[in-house]
Structure formats: structure tokens, C-alpha cells
Symmetry: C2
Subunit: 335 residues, 2 copies
């Protein structure tokens, strides 16, 4: 069995220097590093993480459980995934991706003993996957919330986000403000839809009008459908808050195709998306940028704190989106 | 030590049925599954993948090595990542994400003994990370190519893709066709840039004109820069092939902002991107859709075949992009 000591002897350096290279904890001169790597290769040295895992009953692996995201034109998804991967690596953990679309796959994976803990994305308001996680006894953190607020979660602060969006629109004189959300595909849908709707109802209550809520698919076609609904069924609305980034381009195109100006006839704020996506659209959308990478890192930290026994209550962390002004909000100038 | 036999006895089913549930290999009635899961939980049964790994010297874990992708507004990236995760799970492997931005991080991770094999994304034409992989002795497959075509890779067939794009534009009468690529950030850059440029030079050679190659950042600002260069420096070009999806929206906006019509004044094909991204842009772009998820799955399959000793030469697989007509290509109608 080759040890770190053998590697140090072959490379003619101290054991500490070998450790610096292996753990990336300290910068080592390139020539020294090359010598150590050559020794590792010649001796075929491997730190045995598997043996360590067996001895400690810890694998230092976390799972990110997510539904099928392949077909999502969703700019925030990659930020969640990469934020979680970076956050795990920074604390010396590895992140495995588990695409799970049903409970059976979850049983199989959770019973495997591979992971110390799990993160769950795209949490639904009532979510059998969460019940499954609770039953498994495996420590976890949610990115998003169910109706049970006692579970550990990090989430976007939709209440604050929507109130700020409404305040921004009101500062330009808008009083009839529609909400465009995501159409849930079967089931009660993601918790965000419920939370966004209730924040919206609350925020527009002082304005006195009826709420206008339009739920469409998270696609360009969905966005065009929302544009039609706004123009034909709710012509009195002068502004819309969109919480459906996949529909944002289609909404802008549909409104313009109907001969209406953005922002003159309709001001738009796209919430819970990225600045980059807003920039792509014509006109450049005013967005509320989602703190996706930050939330993913916080969820990882909270999970690792649980695993390492940091004595803290389970996290209940909410972060609002950040307003990034574009060219899609202005005063009402329609005739 | 609790065994599968104990779980079967407690749930009053056969061992085979427990195995079906754990491996997801066969559908089991929901009530039976619930009973088995209750037994697993009561007995705290865990299949010990760690012990299995120690005994077999195989962890059945693959690593996806990728640079920092957090800030990329790149619609194909998520398809690569998710395609690889699905492909691995379908063959009973787990995929860990390793964000590695330098060689030191790679040494550390590869020496850890966690993974049986590695996939490398965003391969550069000369790539020290590939040398590091070769030196590590860990089986690997590349998504993209270096200048060394002997290494195992899967890649987009850029030559066929560019030739098809040029042929499509020629069928509308275009003869002055520009190429817009990605500006490499230090170093020789991704292999795709070199391959795309050489395919472009070859494909336009029969047209007799000078090649026009514009390299810009993969951002909306980069796209606007390309639009300016086309309008001011190359006003004779009537069509452009874009291999830079991050710049696609900015290019379309910049051309329109200069008072030029798409496709009347300039036809655009955006290659190596997604249909969904093309749909978001005004006008809807004609794209050559990248086979991102398919390539990622092929890379995973090739890697697992190597690991499992399937007697096949290392893969050299090339797949062209698929033409998806939009509204951005038409005959020249400029005055």
C-alpha cells in the first residue's frame, strides 16, 4: 500500500508539501508540484477516499435531486446547479446530480448509502419527494418550500420581490398591474406560484382594482398567449409583472406584434430571472434578478452544517430578487 | 448488519421484489412498495455502496470536469450537464460535478480515488487539463477535441454544420457571407473556433470573395459589437453565420437598431445553439441546433464502455447540428 510518505520520499519533499498539493490548501512552486505529481503517477498513489468513507461512515458526497431539466430554457437553473457544485467543493464535499422524476427512483437512490445528505430543487407546495426524504432519515435542505415551513429551506423572498416590483411600477403611475405566472403541470404546483399570487394580491390591494392573474406555459408560445390575454381580455392593464422567465421573450414579442409599445402601452418587469436573459429581449427588460447561485450555496452550507453538527436551528433563509432597471418600464403614454 | 433478506421477511415479500424496488428494474404495486420502504426504514437498511466499492475497487462514480459555468448565458450548457447526468444514471453510475479552473484543483480531485472515470467539457485546442488526465491514468472521454485526434472524444461535426449553413444561405442567393465566432479569452481557445473557421474558409472558397471573420465576446454587448463591425466595415455582406450563442440576441438587436432589416438586409443563421434560444429572439432565428444532450450521453456511454471493458476502439464520434428554419433567412432584398 503506497502512502503519502512514499510519495514525499520519491519527490524529495516533505509530507506537508505533498498534502498542500493534494488538498490545494497552499500554493506550491510549479516545478515542485510537477515532481510530486510525477511521483504520484510512478507509484500509482491514490488517497483512498473509499476506505476513509467506510471507516468514518461518511462519504462526503451530497446529492442534488432535480426533475428533468434538459428541456428547460431556464437561465436560473444552471446558476442553481453550478452554485451548489461550487459550494460543495469549497467545503471539501462532492455533489452528485440525481435526475429523479418519480418516487421509485428516489427510493433506489436514497437506499444506496452513497450520499451523506441531499438537496432538493423545484420543490412543490405539496411534494411527495419531500415526504420521502423525511422518511429516509437522510439530512436534507430544500431550495424552495412546501406548505410545511418547519422543514429546512432556502428560498427566494417572493413577498418582498413582488412588493418591490409593484412599488417600482406605482412610482411610474401604474395602477392596473397584471401578474403572469407559470401554469402548473398537474398537481398543486411549485410553492412559488402560490406565494407569488398571494404577495401580488396583497401588494395591489391598496390600488382597489381586481387582480388579473394569467398562468401560461413557460415557453415562447406561453408568452404569446399571455400577450393575447392582456390585449384582448384585460386592455385596461398598463403594466405586468412576469414570474415565468421562459415566457418573457414571447410576451414582449406578442405585445409588440399586437402593435402596442413597451413601455408606452405596457410596462413589464420580469421577476426571478437573470440580467443576461433580460438583456436578450427587445426592449431590454427590467428584471428582478434571482439570487440563484447564492441560494444554492446557502443550501449547501446549511446541509453541511447539519452533517457536521454545527449547532444551529435548521435554516429558514429568504432572499429577495434584486431590481435591475432595463428599458421596459416607463410612464403610461398610451392615448 | 441488516440484509435484504431481513427487509423481505419484515415486508413479507420475496427478496426479488425488494431488489426490484431498490434497483428500479421492475414496477411493483404501490402498496407493496410502501410496505418494503417501511421495512427499510424500520430496520434502517442501507445497501452499502461504500463497502461494495472497497471490495470491487470500483466506485461507479464519474466526474464531469467543467470550468466555471455560473455566469454563462449558454443554453446548451445545461443540456450537456443534464444529458450526462441522465446517461450515467441510466447505466447505474453517478455523476459528480467538478468545477475545476486550474490544474491544482484537478490534481487534488484526481488523486482522491473517488471516481472511476472523467468527462471533460469545454476542451481547448491545446489543453493542459487533458495532459493532466492522460497522466493520471484515469479513463476519460472528451466533449470537444484537442489538436490530438487520437484521444477519445465526442464532438459537434462543425465541418458538416458550417457547410450546411453556407449551402442554406447560398440557396437564397447569398454570396458574401460573414462568420461570427467567440473571442478566446487568453490561450489558443476552444478547438471549435479553429475548426469552425477552417470549415468556413473551405465552404465559401467557391464563392470567390474574401473571408470575413469577426470574433466577439459571448454576450449581448459582443453581439452588438459584431453588428457594428458588419454594418460599418463589411457592408457588402448579406448574410452571417454565428457560432456564438451568447451574442445572438445582441447581434439581432444591433442590426435592427442600425435600421437594417433581418432577413432583407442581413440573413442570420445561429449555429450550435438551441431552438428555444432562437425562438426568443426577434425575428425568430434560423438555428442549427446543437446535439448537446445526445453528445453528452454518447460521451458517458463511451466512458462506461471503457470502464467495463467493452472491446471497442476509443470513440471518435462527430454529430452535426440540425437546421431549424426560423424567420431570419431570406433572399437579398436590400436596395
Amino acid at each position: 500500500m503506497v502512502t503519502m510518505r512514499d510519495v514525499a520520499a520519491r519527490a524529495n519533499v516533505s509530507i506537508a508539501t505533498v498534502s498542500f498539493v493534494l488538498n490545494g490548501t497552499k500554493r506550491v512552486a510549479p516545478e515542485t508540484r510537477a515532481r510530486i505529481e510525477a511521483a504520484i503517477q510512478e507509484l500509482n498513489y491514490r488517497r483512498n477516499v473509499v476506505a476513509r468513507a467506510l471507516a468514518s461512515s461518511r462519504t462526503r458526497i451530497l446529492a442534488l435531486l432535480h426533475p428533468d431539466l434538459e428541456s428547460r430554457a431556464n437561465a436560473t437553473v444552471i446558476q442553481f446547479v453550478m452554485g451548489a457544485a461550487h459550494g460543495a467543493r469549497e467545503r471539501g464535499y462532492d455533489l452528485v446530480l440525481w435526475p429523479v422524476n418519480d418516487d421509485e427512483q428516489m427510493s433506489h437512490l436514497l437506499a444506496g448509502g452513497l450520499v451523506d445528505g441531499a438537496l432538493l430543487m423545484e420543490v412543490q407546495i405539496r411534494d411527495s419527494r419531500v415526504e420521502r426524504l423525511v422518511a429516509s432519515g437522510i439530512p436534507f435542505a430544500l431550495i424552495g418550500r412546501t406548505e410545511n415551513d418547519d422543514l429546512p429551506y432556502v428560498d427566494i423572498d417572493f413577498a418582498t420581490t413582488i412588493h418591490e416590483a409593484v412599488a417600482h411600477l406605482r412610482s411610474y403611475g401604474h395602477e392596473r398591474i397584471a401578474l403572469i405566472t407559470d401554469r402548473a403541470r398537474g398537481g398543486p404546483g411549485p410553492g412559488r406560484i402560490m406565494r407569488v399570487e398571494s404577495a401580488y394580491r396583497e401588494a395591489i390591494a391598496p390600488l382597489g382594482g381586481q387582480p388579473v392573474i394569467i398562468a401560461v406555459d413557460s415557453t415562447s408560445a406561453g408568452g404569446r398567449e399571455a400577450a393575447r390575454a392582456l390585449c384582448e381580455e384585460h386592455p385596461g392593464c398598463t403594466a405586468a409583472i412576469l414570474v415565468n422567465e421562459g415566457a418573457s421573450a414571447g410576451l414582449a414579442k406578442g405585445i409588440r406584434a399586437a402593435g402596442r409599445a413597451i413601455p408606452g402601452d405596457l410596462s413589464i418587469i420580469s421577476a426571478s430571472t437573470t440580467r443576461e436573459l433580460g438583456e436578450m429581449i427587445e426592449p431590454e427588460l427590467t428584471v428582478m434578478a434571482a439570487p440563484a447561485a447564492e441560494l444554492a450555496r446557502l443550501a449547501v452550507d446549511a446541509l453541511i452544517d447539519q452533517l457536521e453538527g454545527v449547532p444551529d436551528a435548521p435554516p429558514h433563509t429568504l432572499i429577495p430578487c434584486t431590481l435591475v432597471p432595463g428599458e421596459s418600464v416607463g410612464p403610461v403614454t398610451r392615448s
